[in-house]
Symmetry: C2
Subunit: 106 residues, 2 copies
């Protein structure tokens, strides 16, 4: 693995790390439906506002969402919809795992 490849893999890892949390996955999917305020997401996720805010900043730093302040509220938007396609691939993995598990049990 040469230096260029390594750098490239690290750049990709940063983005994937930003996705690697259940709350953030939920938020990404929710934002896929349209923009949401921090307050709205906090209600849905059911964690402390500060926690949700930090999750959002992780997503923002990775370039996955953008934010837009309007009045007192800050609205977040999904910037890269193709992420949603990826989730369907993850779904494939989950189903394959479930099938294998059943096969082993039988």
């Amino acid at each position: 693995m040469d230096a260029k490849t390594k750098y490239h893999c690290e750049a990709r890892a940063k983005i994937i790390k930003a996705l690697a949390h259940s709350s953030r996955i939920f938020m990404i999917e929710e934002l896929g439906k349209g923009e949401r305020s921090v307050y709205a997401l906090t209600e849905m996720v059911g964690a402390d506002v500060s926690t949700v805010s930090k999750h959002l900043s992780v997503l923002k730093n990775a370039g996955l969402v953008t934010s837009d302040r309007r009045g007192q509220q800050v609205f977040y938007t999904l910037r890269v919809p193709c992420i949603l396609n990826f989730f369907s691939c993850v779904e494939t993995v989950l189903q394959a795992n479930a099938m294998e598990h059943n096969a082993l049990v039988e």
Copy 2:
């Protein structure tokens, strides 16, 4: 977020976490070209064999690769090729980030 949704997001997070490391990303891509032995991957990654072996077990536990022992060697194979499509989406994000960065610098 109800219990079912939460469980589902956690299941997806487990899989995405397994992808969230530069060495594992590299290995996934390499395995996309065909099966590889642990030794071959170790050479390419340039880390300790034990480290690479542990990375591979993470991928295997997530259901992303399968292993097959033939003689002294263990060959790993990518089980879910759609993962590779996802990397192209990540590429999109990286390019978008780079463009934005350039725009800010200019």
